[in-house]
């Protein structure tokens, strides 16, 4: 039986541009695992080519999903622009919206960074933070339940294992958890760490980061087919939370 041409594939999601009419998707999802999940969203963190153009990055995130998105202010210098963009009350379609807090080019003292993050409008559901950025947990309590701590990959000195994160969560009882599946998979090939993280912090789980990692470099790349199979049992434990793609949707 001949394969259907790509043009005959149905778009995976209804598409909604910020302005104007519905557009045709640029990248319909071909991964059955991703296409079956709801809600799914894109992180603007992988959109290096549009850095600083928040409206443009949101448009690209909308092309992946109108339901969820993560706005990545990974460099501290990007955060002010993001705050200003959101204070302009853009008409965003997302039901779930997270912001990735800065991890690079940090200059502000921690209390000031927290204060700036706390200025993010209430439509931001989660503020994802790397554990190595939290040196004074009491300062971060101001973010309340919006604070979400992410597990780390092996390149960091800490933050990969449940025992690394437990003291942080003990100090921040309202904080949520973001499971970065690729990070956990880089710690142990068999995904045991991911299961242990879910065992320990599953009740706090707010979202996933889903991607593969480029071998040796640790950068996020579109989900490999082999990782789909490797992650499957972990993902099956998380059917109810948004999955945020940290790389473009796979085109295979």
């Amino acid at each position: 039986m001949p394969r259907r041409p790509p043009s005959a594939l149905q778009p995976a999601f209804p598409l909604l541009a910020l302005g104007g009419r519905l557009q045709t998707p640029t990248r319909p999802l071909r991964s059955a695992l991703l296409a079956m999940h709801h809600p799914l969203g894109a992180s603007t963190g992988y959109m290096d080519f549009s850095r600083g153009d928040w409206a443009g990055m949101v448009e690209r995130a909308v092309e992946v999903s109108t339901f969820a998105a993560e706005l990545g202010a990974l460099g501290e210098d990007e955060l002010l622009g993001l705050v200003a963009f959101l204070e302009g009350t853009p008409r965003l379609p997302f039901h779930y919206l997270s912001v990735h807090a800065p991890t690079k080019r940090r200059r502000l003292p921690e209390p000031q960074l927290v204060a700036l993050l706390n200025q993010l409008p209430a439509i931001v559901d989660s503020i994802v933070v790397h554990p190595d950025q939290v040196t004074a947990p009491p300062d971060w309590r101001a973010l309340g339940r919006r604070l979400v701590i992410e597990n780390m990959d092996p390149r960091k000195t800490l933050g990969q294992l449940p025992e690394h994160l437990a003291p942080l969560f003990a100090a921040l009882p309202d904080a949520g958890f973001c499971l970065d599946v690729a990070h956990a998979g880089a710690v142990e090939e068999d995904m045991d760490v991911a299961h242990r993280l879910l065992d320990a912090f599953g009740a706090r789980l707010r979202q996933l980061h889903v991607s593969s990692l480029r071998a040796g470099r640790g950068s996020h790349v579109p989900l490999y087919r082999k990782d789909e199979a490797r992650y499957a049992r972990v993902l099956a434990r998380c059917p109810d939370v948004p999955w945020i793609l940290e790389a473009p949707p796979p085109r295979r």
């Binding site: 809600p39 039901h95 065992d199 599953g202 009740a203 059917p239 109810d240």
Partner: protein, 333 residues
């Protein structure tokens, strides 16, 4: 079962399976049980006709009493409406010193089971539909447990009497439960558009949490009829409906091996209940007008909790077999 019973329940089993408890839900159940005991003691010497039940609705019926809960009570008889029926609502004063209340006069009257069993067409008003659904989906007996059970059985018979197909969710009842859920949602918006903005934020928060849970708690037992014959369906449904909605939902998460999602879903509901039990935050919600909701932290917290509850229930219904197929087959058309 008493809505506040301390016996092991699907809710406590889910909490244990997830390694967490649901402290606000468990505290609310304990409070409900204690208040039921007090209310029964206050009414111990009051005469009651043998065909009458004093039925608790709302948060009483769900076993979810918080500090700000209304006293929602309905007097139901399996007999005829008549003068001198005992007890009258006014005689419940010793049990509910503030007076039993309810929005739009929904809960402040006597009703016969035959009036409740008037399903569809012109006689089935919004008020009748609301009372029938609340009795079916979130009621518990304060007095007359046997009559309450007969009322549920009679209502189920009214729905299921013509259904003789095995292993199929009963369409008549399923459609009415869905109709009720959509009616709540439409009426919520209609009230807001009519300028009835009082308590808008609290109503919105409840729509996304306790009303959503109520609907799911009615939908899931109906889908369970997929597993049984038409002869067994009434008893199965009666057994389910005698449990609080959170137990029905927790049991489904356990049954379909969705413990992780279930812990998060009931956990979000637990947080909402704790929020409602905080007089300051509840009062802030009651005062909040729609125009200020976008930037209000308490409202936004309720919105997030409501989203988490909906996501969890959606995952249960759409990502677990056979529920996924059942919703596809029966949930839309």
């Amino acid at each position: 079962m008493d809505p506040g019973s301390a016996a092991p329940t699907p809710l406590s089993a889910l909490g244990a399976a997830g390694g967490v408890g649901f402290p606000a839900l468990q505290a609310a159940r304990a409070r409900t049980a204690q208040r039921c005991d007090v209310a029964r003691a206050a009414l111990a010497r009051m005469p009651r006709d043998l065909d009458v039940a004093v039925v608790l609705l709302g948060s009483w019926g769900r076993g979810e009493l918080t500090s700000g809960s209304d006293d929602d009570v309905l007097i139901v008889t399996t007999g005829a409406r008549r003068p001198g029926l005992q007890p009258a609502m006014s005689e419940l004063e010793p049990a509910f010193p503030g007076g039993a209340t309810g929005a739009q006069g929904t809960f402040d009257d006597v009703v016969t089971v035959e009036e409740l069993a008037t399903i569809g067409l012109q006689e089935d008003s919004n008020r009748v539909l609301t009372r029938r659904m609340l009795v079916l989906l979130e009621s518990a007996p304060l007095l007359g447990a046997d009559v309450h059970r007969q009322v549920l059985a009679r209502l189920l018979d009214a729905y299921l009497g013509g259904e003789r197909r095995d292993r199929r969710p009963p369409r008549f009842l399923l459609n009415d439960v869905i109709r009720y859920w959509r009616t709540i949602a439409v009426d919520f918006e209609a009230k807001a558009r009519a300028g009835d903005d009082g308590k808008w934020a609290l109503r919105h928060a409840k729509l996304r949490t306790s009303r959503t849970m109520l609907f799911a708690g009615g939908l899931l037992p109906l889908l369970e009829c997929h597993h049984v014959t038409a002869d067994d369906a009434p008893a199965v449904l009666l057994g389910e409906l005698l449990q609080p909605p959170t137990d029905r939902i927790a049991a489904s998460f356990l049954r379909y091996e969705a413990v992780d999602a279930g812990v998060r879903t009931l956990g979000a509901y637990d947080r909402f209940l704790a929020l409602l039990d905080d007089p300051e935050r509840r009062a802030a919600l009651e005062r909040l007008v729609r125009a200020r909701a976008r930037e209000d932290p308490t409202f936004q917290e309720c919105r997030r909790l409501g989203r988490e509850i909906q996501q969890g229930l959606t995952a249960l219904l759409f990502e677990r077999e056979p529920l996924r197929r059942l919703v596809r087959q029966y949930g839309v058309f």
